[in-house]
Amino acid sequence: MSTENTTYINYLIEISKSGRHRGFLDLCEIILPNVYTVVFRLLNDEESAKKITVKTFMQAWHQMKYFDVKKPFIVWIKSVAILLSMEELNKTASLFQMTLSENETKGSKRDLDSLIKTLPTLNRIIFVLHDLEGYSYKEILQFFPDLIEDELKTNLIQTRQHLIGNLTQ
């Protein structure tokens, strides 16, 4: 995952760091679809996604002065969004509580979008980050310090097999 900042984004970052709201709001508008997409895919709920997106931007605003302009801004803010989404998901149930059971891997045939939505939380997070957002295993491990790479891989393969097995052709 790497996306260089454009000149205009660097300019907006600079003025946001100096405390100007206008620059920061412009920056938010540009990257909003990017941030909202990942948050919505992780949380599966519009209201929560909205709340966490706003929370992400507010946290970014507070930490703006520590942000290193040489780093891709979108990568940084997305990691804030992912951490906050995981925190939100953890409030309702532990991320590790549910996994794909044998029965679920042989469910009824559905379209891909609804299949992804019904994945257990941990499987969904790993799948969304790896296969939809393009994070590598190493990058995903930064969000799950208690997991090892093999566990991640196994989880992802299990998810893919579940999706492939239940996909309407």
Partner: protein, 402 residues
């Protein structure tokens, strides 16, 4: 490698994590094993469907307002002072949003993985026709199919006739007196001193044709529309970000790059190009010249395109530029241009650089740097030696700030 190993490795194959040797072994196995090939085909279908999911989910409209309100709240501002935080240049923001979305769509993981899955093809089981015939068919058939597909693709791009609507008076199309009519490729459209028209250009936008204008529709084809402005005035309004539409005037090709512009062909005095929005490119003798919004430029036969001048520049500035471009004004004219230049004239100075002496390039470099420092990747030496890439990068840097 056995089937179970291949099943596991297939995922690493798609994730591009295998070393070359294992990758070849997986490919070899899949080509020769019906069961694994079936598994592999399921993966292709899966990643193809994954690619179809929207790259972007549109956020609810009030998210930005919520951020704005929250910002106000924590800084103790009253919501009425919205002007303080109102969003600035929406065109730049839309452009940036577009860039970000494009990156996401182009470089998204599903698209990449879908491409990778297409890497293996199964070895045909049936030996089929004799080798020579097969070889011939394999060579000729794809070529014939490509040629046919290209023909069809190219043919469907022709978009004439274009619709013309008279806004006032009678029009003449290829000798016919008409009010509302269509305009075919190769036909001439003319207006007199009492008539004007609007032309609807498919997938591009509209072109207003002023009094006493004569235009030839050279080519009506998506991606390569071309009109010659023999005399008169036209005003082009694009609806597309990057339409491919060009106008030939006095031996110059004016290429639309979105937005609005006007060209008035004053015959012997040359044509006057006035860009209202976005920018325009001019092709002349193999060189491309850029004209930004709010700039005008004179196109005279026998000369290179005139240096673009800001619409708000002073008359003295215009006169000095005209003297340099068309009256052999030389160094004296350049010195005048530099002395008259304000912040708004920096793109004019930048456009002059390729046509002045080394010493004057140094002076102009300094003059522009004082107002718009060059981006990191642009150096003084590069500009002096007329590095095209650096000149363009600096142009972009100034363009969005003006």
């Amino acid at each position: 490698m056995i089937c179970e190993e291949v099943k596991i490795n297939l995922h690493d194959y798609i994730d591009e994590l295998l070393d070359d040797l294992t990758k070849r072994e997986v490919e070899q196995h899949i080509r020769n094993c019906d069961l694994c090939f079936k598994e592999y085909k399921k993966m292709i279908v899966f990643f193809d469907q994954l690619k179809q999911l929207p790259a972007i989910i549109n956020p609810p409209k009030d998210v930005l307002d919520l951020v704005k309100t929250e910002l106000m709240r924590i800084h103790g501002l009253i919501t009425h002072t919205d002007q303080q935080v109102s969003l600035s240049d929406s065109r730049k923001i839309q452009k940036e949003k577009h860039i970000q979305e494009k990156i996401l769509r182009k470089e998204g993981a599903p698209l990449r993985k879908s491409r990778v899955t297409k890497g293996i093809y199964k070895k045909p089981y049936n030996p089929g026709p004799p080798a020579e015939v097969k070889r011939l068919l394999l060579t000729v058939l794809p070529l014939a199919m490509i040629a046919f597909a290209y023909f069809l693709y190219d043919f469907q791009k022709y978009n004439y006739p274009w619709q013309i609507v008279s806004t006032i008076g009678n029009l003449v199309v290829d000798g016919r007196n008409v009010n509302d009519d269509s305009w075919d490729q190769g036909e001439i459209l003319s207006t007199d001193d009492e008539s004007m028209a609007v032309v609807h250009i498919p997938l591009v936008g509209t072109m207003e044709v002023g009094n006493n204008s004569v235009l030839l529709l050279d080519r009506a084809k998506d991606g390569a529309n071309k009109v010659t402005l023999k005399q008169g005035i036209i005003n082009l309004i694009n609806n597309r970000d990057m339409p491919d539409f060009s106008i030939l005037v006095n031996g110059f090709e004016v290429i639309s790059r979105g937005g609005k512009f006007e060209i008035e062909n004053l015959s012997l005095l040359g044509a006057k190009l006035k860009v209202g929005y976005a920018f325009v490119e001019i092709e002349h003798n193999g060189t491309t010249y850029m004209v930004d919004e709010n700039h005008t430029c004179i196109l005279k036969k026998g000369f290179r395109p005139g240096t673009p001048v800001n619409s708000n520049s002073s008359d003295s500035m215009r006169a000095a530029v005209a003297a340099f471009d068309f009256e052999d004004g030389g160094e004296e004219a350049v010195a005048k241009i530099i002395s008259f230049a304000n912040e708004q004239d920096m793109l004019t100075l930048l456009a002059l650089i390729p046509f002045v002496s080394q010493l004057q390039r140094q002076i102009i470099f300094q003059e522009i740097s004082n107002r718009f420092p060059p981006p990191e990747s642009v150096t003084r030496a590069g500009i002096i030696r007329l590095d095209k890439e650096m000149l363009y990068r600096w142009w972009q840097e100034i363009e969005w700030q003006l």
